[in-house]
Symmetry: C2
DNA sequence: GCTAGTAGGTACGGATTCGTAACCAACGAG
DNA sequence: CTCGTTGGTTACGAATCCGTACCTACTAGC
């Protein structure tokens, strides 16, 4: 599947698919999360915060997000150049869903951890 | 990124990432959507409905979803075997988010279409 | 005996992806 | 005159993904 370029053959009739393709792609959620919580940021700042991402990936993801209208790119042709990225209004429309997803994800992780703990305790008791 | 197997190195501190990895993976949304709207289904039924998917992919995705606790697999060792898949309670917890995502996706698609139409009209008027 | 259908598993291979490393342009500092 | 900074781009290569094709075991139907 092409996470980056959008549809592969036919995305036919699943609007979720389009939007999830956007949100997915390796670093996307980290980028959006950072732009949301820390506000507009310059390229280097963002790169430093999204630990481990390469300039190439960051550029590519930002271009994709920009193309989808989720992120705005402000370029100042100073020397050295200054490029600031920020969430667009459309980008902020995802705040709520992302919040919900994060909440569910967190809950599930906690539940899974609890379940593992119980199972471990049972195993120990069965010794 | 490994959509299928979950984290690659560190998913560190982004619960959205975990859950989106689940929802993503090529056919996942189609599968969940079908299980949600058409209820529990057998393997072949599902395969027929999720048009174009290969048995391999369907099996793999279902196993992943099962592993994440979103889908339940009921196996009856009749001849021929009968395997029914259904959403678990956890699977249904995503109903609302998926609905919201679908709504946003649909709206954006419509907005984009409208914008393209306007642009096309402008181009035509400028001839 | 041959085919179809059920629910997959396995092997291969082309395409895609993503990380690494190198490079670029302009300029200010030393 | 070289170095560092910013915001990238490009080339390469290894890893991964996912579709195709073929295999299983069993039975029913012709």
């Amino acid at each position: 599947m092409s996470v980056t370029t959008g549809e592969r053959k036919e995305s036919a009739s699943c609007p979720m698919d389009f939007i999830l393709r956007m949100l997915m792609g390796p670093w996307t959620t980290y980028i959006l999360y950072n732009l949301k919580t820390h506000g507009p940021q310059r390229f280097g700042e963002l790169k430093r915060r999204v630990q481990g991402i390469s300039a190439k990936m960051l550029t590519e993801r930002l271009r994709t997000l920009e193309g989808a209208g989720l992120v705005r790119r402000d370029y100042e042709a100073t020397i050295p150049p200054k490029v600031t990225y920020s969430l667009t209004q459309r980008g902020h429309e995802l705040d709520e869903v992302m919040g919900t997803l994060a909440e569910i994800g967190t809950r599930w992780e906690a539940e899974d951890a609890a379940r593992r703990a119980v199972r471990a305790a049972e195993l120990k008791a069965a010794e």
